[in-house]
């Protein structure tokens, strides 16, 4: 499969489609005669999908297409909406600003890495959008960034999902306790401390909000009134209280999940998705009553004490209780087979095809505030599509083509061995072989523990 000529051609192709442009690139194409899994509107057999300027403009049989448009024959193949990963850390160069228990002002969107090969690997698994999250070192971490996998574009800002909701990482339990309590000798050292830190931060946000409101009022009378000190940390907390940001909270235990719900109630905050939420099945009715959402692993737990207890039925129980639930990867490897992860809910819980696929499409879209744009195949939505050789919930299905905004970003038929866009001339060996960066929640925090013992 390795042919250097092919590499070059591919690199050229990529570069030509990548010139730095202010607007995200989009394309036109038509997919013919596939089985379309719309997620929201059932399954359509032998159907065409017309894409113009990156949007789905037609859905039906024997559609007329403009002359010369790129055509993909999907006879015998399945088309589903591009998969959405609600929890990942790929494509960013910094995950944790772990030097303070509250860092609501930092934004991982400032550290997008357009060269991260993980983006291409995710595309190869049909994933078109991921939620690049701040890590879980701090009780209140930084703001996350929903990105589209436009691999090949060099401008980092062009990866940002236009119009996506603002999201922020919160973290309960052992990670913030360890990093700050043990690592730095500051609050929080216990679960009680985590609650205290979060309450204090909200309180600061309220005080800040009032200060600025008073200033704005004063300014009307006296245009020379001095402004209070600008503080993006507190401003962000105020924005959460004002419902402008969806909280994405790293959590495991039922008790701490209920604790946060109480805190949010006290501050009038309504928008939250719990991440991991391994004991979510214990408090599913409470989550549903609050309107909280949940993003879980299919079948992964017991990797540390606070996540000792969970079940592979978690996603099903949450779904059956009316909680908007998604299955996420939190990993540059797992992201490539989220369709397998979703399929596990049919073995553990008997979810229907549509319910299982919703876990990796429309549900994460709802959690990220992008469900009007992606997550299902409907006219008017973004042409983010994944074509599979078989039904994506079958273990035999293989992703064939992945499309973002009408542009083919992955094609199994043209998949060169070396897809790097950035090559370090001093690299001593091909490090891209088999190497996977640690993409976990706790990246960039190791130095916080270095002085222990």
């Amino acid at each position: 499969m390795i042919c250097s000529m092919k590499n070059i051609i591919c690199a050229l192709y990529l570069l030509s489609s990548t010139a730095m442009v202010a607007q995200a690139p989009s394309g036109d194409l038509i997919i013919r005669n596939g089985t379309v899994l719309t997620i929201t509107k059932g399954t359509l057999e032998e159907t065409d999908i017309l894409v113009q300027k990156g949007k789905i403009t037609g859905l039906g049989k024997n559609l007329k297409a403009p002359a010369g448009i790129k055509e993909i024959d999907a006879t015998g193949q399945y088309i589903m909406p591009g998969i959405i990963d609600a929890h990942s850390h790929i494509a960013i160069d910094a995950v944790n600003e772990a030097t303070h228990p509250v860092t609501s002002e930092v934004k991982v969107g400032d550290a997008i890495d357009p060269f991260d090969l993980s983006i291409y690997r995710a595309l190869a698994g049909g994933v078109t959008t991921s939620h690049a999250m701040h890590g879980s070192a701090n009780a209140i971490g930084g703001q996350c960034q929903t990105i589209k996998h436009r691999y090949g574009v060099l401008d980092p800002s062009a990866f940002k999902f236009e119009g996506a909701a603002r999201t922020i990482k919160f973290a309960l339990g052992e990670n913030p306790m360890r990093v700050h309590g043990e690592g730095r000798g500051v609050q929080p050292r216990t679960r009680m401390g985590v609650e205290r830190v979060i309450r204090d931060a909200f309180q600061q946000g309220l005080v800040y909000k009032e200060k600025w409101a008073a200033y704005e009022a004063e300014k009307k009378k006296n245009p020379n009134a001095p402004a209070p000190l600008y503080n993006e940390r507190n401003q962000t907390m105020a924005d959460i209280i004002d419902g402008k940001i969806i909280i994405q909270c790293h959590s495991y235990r039922a008790d701490e999940i209920l604790m946060l719900l109480r805190v949010l109630k006290d501050f009038g905050v309504k928008k939250i998705t719990f991440q991991h939420v391994n004991e979510g099945f214990k408090v599913a009715p409470e989550l549903a009553a609050f309107g909280a959402m949940a993003s879980v692993f299919s079948d992964w737990w017991a990797y540390k004490f606070e996540v000792y207890y969970s079940t592979a039925y978690n996603a099903t129980i949450l779904t059956r209780n009316g909680v908007v639930t998604s299955i996420n990867s939190d990993s540059g490897e797992l992201i490539r087979h989220l369709f397998h992860e979703a399929a596990k809910t049919q073995r553990y819980g008997d979810l229907s095809d549509e319910e299982a696929l919703a876990l990796i499409t429309i549900n994460p879209a709802r959690q990220l505030g992008i469900d009007t744009k992606v997550g299902s195949i409907e006219t008017g939505k973004d042409a983010d599509l994944a074509i599979f050789s078989g039904h994506p919930l079958s273990i035999y299905a293989i992703p064939q083509v992945t499309i973002v905004d009408g542009i083919v970003r992955f094609d199994k038929a043209h998949d060169p061995a070396d897809m790097r866009l950035y090559i370090d001339p001093q690299e001593s060996s091909p490090t891209y072989y088999g190497q996977e960066d640690v993409e976990g929640c706790m990246r960039d925090t190791e130095f916080m523990f270095s002085h222990r013992h």
Binding site: T99, G142, L154, D418, G440, M442, F447, H451
Partner: protein, 612 residues
């Protein structure tokens, strides 16, 4: 990359009489002295070690000041290239009291002039360094590691470390750490530089840059225009906030907004009544000229992502920004074409690490080559220094490579043909070429740029310029980027950058046209002060070549680890023997996550646990 480099360079560029020591005793001595230094970070031991060596030193005069008998100097009948692109014209240059006072053929030379018969020599405007840390002598104690360890960290009311620890010192000036006797001043002057835009050392906002004349005995004579720029970079505070690029970005936004508010508050306080006194904040105060767009920000952004991020910050906040020390600007040339953000290119180039090169070096060394008892396998290579007076032999022993498992695997792989490996080598070669072609490609696209020496070793300067010229950089553009371009960037084009009457008496006197093979600097005149250099004959050079390839017992790249309770810092210590003179550099790692240059750093954590 920031810590200790200058510290050691200044100490380590020392001479010793090689033959007066036996190989064994010397290496023992070094190990003995270096281990404690490394593990305990007792820096005071280093000077002791240096003193010991300098005691044996045979001084090597390169550019001793000639006593100035008269304030008038005449370069008689030289071939003068008055500005970039001009053809050489035979003229006499008369300089008095630091200025060029007369220029032309058949001049009446003043009677008190010190005359130099320059009829076989070329005169050029001396170089202006757009971005560097020449002359900064800073024993670094806050070296990006924050306050980890047994001590409890100190925080302000918001739980953030104090400004100094956070690396937010925009109020600092070059003067505080500028040392007129610092070795780099003479070194860079010998390479043709007369003026330098110097910035202090530090973390995210180290302080303000100043324009320095590279001649004089004390700082007051040399510091010409102080606090002309704000220096910023993507270097985090290590253990303290901000430690990552995302933290630095957030901090920038906060500082900028508050500086803007401070400007408004101050103006209200001055012009209206019943306004409370503005609370003084050193950082906000220092950033006021930046938010008023009176002072440009020189953002150090070597890698493409560094540049993208700096540009997006500029877009958000609107400061005047200059991208400096750029190594990968061609990725974003469409943005630079717009011309709104000036560019200072790095003069550093990546090393050729290909196998072919390694094999060629190994062959050049020969089977009976020295250095078998050294830490590695030195592959010495004679390099002609086209500008400087000397030929330097560069011996790079890559002890690290030898221990590296991956290199071993590669060695085995070469037995059989590996198409994957071939493809990799090809891509790497193309990538290397892209760096070498950067200046040429940008020039072709009409993008104006200056050069800065911040990241290049003195010894690599002319070699790298030559490489760039071989890869498409026109010599005229090269000269521009070293003279008129930085002059207008720094707003000093009225005073320097060309050889004209009324300009500062800053000229290079070269044996051949600049950038030509075998060209060497014979004299430097900096603000009228004359520096003479010994120009060696080519024959001598050839004879010396064999001798100079002998490598010292310490030659090679040494890994070091500094361990203090609670943290370790690793880096490389490189020793090179050149004509029996031991020199070297210490390179440490930048601790900021999210920077390109931390790739190494991240890999080190590869085997750590994944926390979820």
């Amino acid at each position: 990359m920031h810590t200790g480099k200058v510290l050691l360079r200044s100490y380590l560029s020392l001479s010793y009489t090689h033959h007066s020591l036996t190989t064994n005793s010397f290496s023992k001595l070094c190990l003995h002295h270096f281990k404690p230094f490394c593990s305990m970070r007792k820096i005071f031991l280093l000077p002791v070690f240096i003193l010991f060596l300098t005691g044996l030193a045979s001084a090597q005069p390169i550019d001793d000041d000639l006593p100035q008998i008269t304030g008038c100097l005449a370069l008689v009948n030289a071939r003068v290239v008055a500005s970039p692109g001009k053809a050489p014209v035979v003229s006499t240059v008369v300089m008095r009291d630091g200025l060029i006072t007369q220029l032309g053929p058949n001049l009446k030379i003043p009677a008190d002039a010190y005359r130099i018969a320059a009829d076989s020599l070329y005169v050029y405007p001396a170089f202006i360094d757009a971005f560097c840390s020449i002359g900064i002598n800073e024993p670094e104690n806050g070296d990006g590691q924050g306050n980890r360890g047994s001590q409890r960290p100190t925080f302000d009311a918001d739980g953030n470390p104090p400004l100094e620890e956070a690396g937010i010192t925009p109020y600092k000036s070059v003067r505080a750490t500028f040392d007129a006797k610092e070795k780099s001043i003479a070194d860079w002057r010998a390479q043709g530089f007369a003026i330098a835009h110097v910035v202090p050392k530090g973390k995210m906002l180290p302080g303000k840059g100043s324009i320095v004349v590279l001649s004089g005995k004390e700082a007051d004579q040399m510091l010409w225009k102080e606090d002309v720029s704000m220096f910023a970079q993507w270097t985090g505070a290590g253990g303290g906030y901000p430690s990552t690029v995302i933290g630095i970005m957030a901090k920038w936004r906060e500082l900028y907004h508050n500086a803007l508010q401070s400007v408004a508050h101050q103006s209200s306080y001055d012009n209206a009544t019943l306004i409370s006194r503005p609370k003084y904040n050193q950082a906000h105060e220092a950033l006021m000229p930046v938010v008023k767009k009176e002072m440009p920000v020189y953002f150090r952004a070597p890698k493409v992502k560094d540049i993208s991020r700096a540009m997006s910050l500029q877009k958000d906040l609107g400061m005047r920004m200059i991208i400096t020390d750029a190594e990968e600007a061609w990725y974003l040339k469409d943005q630079f074409k717009l011309g709104s953000i000036p560019l200072v290119l790095s003069l550093d180039l990546p090393e050729d690490k290909s196998e072919k090169k390694a094999q060629a070096e190994a062959k050049a060394k020969g089977p009976e080559g020295p250095g078998q008892d050294g830490p590695g396998q030195p592959g010495p290579k004679a390099v002609k220094d086209s500008l400087g007076a000397e030929v330097k032999a560069e011996a790079k022993a890559e002890a690290k490579e030898k221990d590296n498992d991956s290199t071993k695997t590669i060695a085995l792989d070469t037995v059989t043909f590996d198409p994957e490996k071939e493809a990799f080598e090809k891509k790497r070669a193309e990538s290397l070429k892209a760096y070498q072609e950067q200046a040429g490609v940008l020039a072709k696209d009409g993008i104006a740029f200056s050069f800065g020496t911040m990241s290049v070793k003195t010894g690599d300067f002319s070699k790298n310029i030559s490489t760039m010229i071989e890869n498409g950089l026109p010599t005229e553009t090269a000269l521009k980027a070293l003279t008129t371009q930085p002059a207008s960037l720094l707003g000093i084009e009225k005073y320097c950058g060309t050889v004209e009457v009324g300009k500062m008496a800053n000229v290079i006197v070269s044996t051949k046209p600049l950038f030509e093979k075998d060209a060497a600097i014979k004299y430097m005149v900096v603000e009228g002060n004359l520096y003479a250099y010994e120009v060696k004959e080519k024959k001598k050079v050839a004879a010396k070549k064999t001798e100079s390839t002998s490598s010292g017992p310490l030659d090679g790249i040494w890994d070091y680890v500094v361990e203090v309770p609670g943290e370790t810092q690793e880096g490389e210590l490189e020793f090179i023997t050149i004509d029996g003179e031991l020199t070297g550099t210490l390179t440490s790692e930048d601790n900021t996550t999210g920077n390109d240059r931390t790739g190494k750093h991240r890999h080190r954590w590869k085997n750590s646990h994944v926390y979820i």
